[in-house]
Symmetry: C2
Subunit: 338 residues, 2 copies
Amino acid sequence: MRATVIHAPGDIRVENRPEPEITAPTDAVIRTVATCVCGSDLWSYRGVMPVDEPQPIGHEYVGVVEEVGSEVSGVEPGQFVIGSFVASDNTCPVCRAGYHTSCQHAEWVTGCQAEYVRVPLSEGTLVAVPEQPTEELIPSLLALSDVMGTGWYAAKAAGVRPGATAVVVGDGAVGLCAVIAAKELGAERVIAMSRHESRQKLAREFGATDIITERGDEGVARVKELTDGTGADAVLECVGTQQSMQQALRSTRPGGNVGFVGMPHDVRIDGQELFFSHVGLRGGPAPVRACLPDLIHRVLSGRIDPGRVFDLTLPLDEVAEGYKAMDERRAIKTLLHP
Amino acid sequence: MRATVIHAPGDIRVENRPEPEITAPTDAVIRTVATCVCGSDLWSYRGVMPVDEPQPIGHEYVGVVEEVGSEVSGVEPGQFVIGSFVASDNTCPVCRAGYHTSCQHAEWVTGCQAEYVRVPLSEGTLVAVPEQPTEELIPSLLALSDVMGTGWYAAKAAGVRPGATAVVVGDGAVGLCAVIAAKELGAERVIAMSRHESRQKLAREFGATDIITERGDEGVARVKELTDGTGADAVLECVGTQQSMQQALRSTRPGGNVGFVGMPHDVRIDGQELFFSHVGLRGGPAPVRACLPDLIHRVLSGRIDPGRVFDLTLPLDEVAEGYKAMDERRAIKTLLHP
C-alpha cells in the first residue's frame, strides 16, 4: 500500500509498504477514506522532536472497516468509523472516568497517512457512523478524530459554561475548533487570539465575538480590558509554548480555569505564581473517544462544521506539499485522500 | 498593648506597642480573645523568608469588636467575630465568585499575635458568631480563621465528592483539618500521609481511614496500591515543597484533582508531566471568608472540632516558646491567650 514515512526533519515521502494485518484478536484494519496532517506532526517535521530512523507517520483517520480480529464484536467490516489517535479499551476505571487517552491499556495509533491502518483495541477505540456519510461530511467527521475532539476537551477542561467568557489562545486548527466548542458549550463571549486575517475570519464564522491580535503581556492586558479588569472565566490554551501558557494563565480570572491541549514543549509553571493566581489548570491529550458519539451527532445534524479548518486538500501522493504548506503557514490544515 | 514582634529568624519578642486605631472608615478594631502561631509564620522564624526589620506578626484571630469606622454597618461593637487573614470587600466580582483572597481590594491582616487588631474592610471580612461562644468552642472557632478554612478550600479545590478517595499530603494543622474537610465533604476513603504517631492518631480521630508513612516515590506507590493501581480521585497538598507537590500530582488518578494550599517554595511544575497526567490543579491562599458561615455552623452544631489541632496553649507573653515548640515539632499548633 501507499504510506507516508518521515525520514528526517523536512523529508516526508510516500512509499510502498506492506498492508497492515490483524496481529491481536482485538485489532481491526480499516481502509482509510480520508486522513490529514496534524500540527503536532510538524514537531518532527521541524526537527523539534528527533527522527532517529524512518517512521510511518499520521494519527488522524476515518475509514471503512476491512477486517476485525476474532474477539471484536462491536465493530463490523463495512462500517464507516472514526477513532481516536490513542487506542483505548473503554472499560478500565480510567476510561470509565472519561480519560481514554490515559487508558490502562492505551496504545498510540500511528502510520495513518496511508491507505490502510491497523487499529488496536478496536472495539473500545472506534465509533461507527450510523450510515455511510455523504462526501461533504467527510472533512468534518475526520476533524473529530483529533482537532475537534481536542478543542472540545480544551473547553471542557477549562470549565466553559453557559454565559461564560472564554479566551482561545492559538489560531491553528485546534484553536479554531476550540472556538466552536466554547460556543457550543454556551460561552456568551468567545475571544480568539489571532494575528492572521484568514484565521480571524474563520474564528468569527465559528462563533468568536472578539479578536485580539496582541500577544504576551499586551495580549493579557487586552483580555483584562475586555473583562472589566478581572480576566476570563475560561481560557483554552492550544499552542504549548512557555509564552502561550503564561498568556493563558495570566488571562484567567481568579477561580477561572485554563484547559491546555497544546502539547507542552519546555513549559515550566511557577508554583507560587499559580498559587496566587487561584487559577485551575487541567490539560492532556484529549480523550477523543469520550466525546465522539456526541460530536458525531453534532456533525450529522449540521450543528457544527469543523471540517472547514481544512483549507488544502491533496491526494496522498502529494503529502510532502501538505506538510510544507502547513509549515509555511500557507495552509491551516491539509486533508489527504489516499 | 502587648504585641508579638519578629526581629530576626528565631528572635520572637512580646513588646509594648501602641493600640491600633481606626484609620479608614471601613476599619474595625477588635480585642483579641485568642490568636495562634501558623506554620507559615515559621517560614520567617526559620529564615526561609527574609526579616529585613522588626515587624509585628500573626494573622489568625477571634475576638470582640471594640470600635468600628463610620462606614461600617454590618459589624457592631460587642460582637464575637472571626475573620480571614486577608481582608476582602465581599462585593467585587472576584469575591462574588468565592475567591475573597484575590479580592480586588484585598489587604493582608497582620500583627494579630497581640491584644488588639485592626481589621480593614471589616464589613466584608468579619463574620459574627450568633452569640458569645463558650470557652470550649474558642479553639475550634479560632481554627476557622485559617487552618480549617484552608483545609476546607484544599478539599473543595481537589473536588472531593461523596464516595471519593482522598489523599492528604502533610500532617501539620492544615493537613489535619484537610482530613476533617475531606470527611465532611463525603470522601469514603481518606488516606493521610504522616510519619508522626500523635498526628496519625489525630488524623484517624478526624476521619482518616488509612495512614501512609512512606514519602516520595514510595509514598506514591503505596497510594497506587491502595487504589487498585489507579491513584486517588482527590489529593490535598498541604506542605508546599517540590517533593510534596510531585508526590501529590503522582498520587492522583487521571482526571482527578490536586488542591494545593501549602504555600509553594521553589516549586516548579513540568508542563509535559502535568499534561500527560490528566490531573487538574488548583491552589491558592484559601478564601476563608467564603466558607466561614458554613464552618461556624458546623462548629457550633458540634459536627467538627478542628480546635483539637491546638496541642499547646500559652499566655501571649510566652509566644517565643510557642514558636520554638512548633519549630522543633514538639507541638502541632500553639494557641495564645492575650
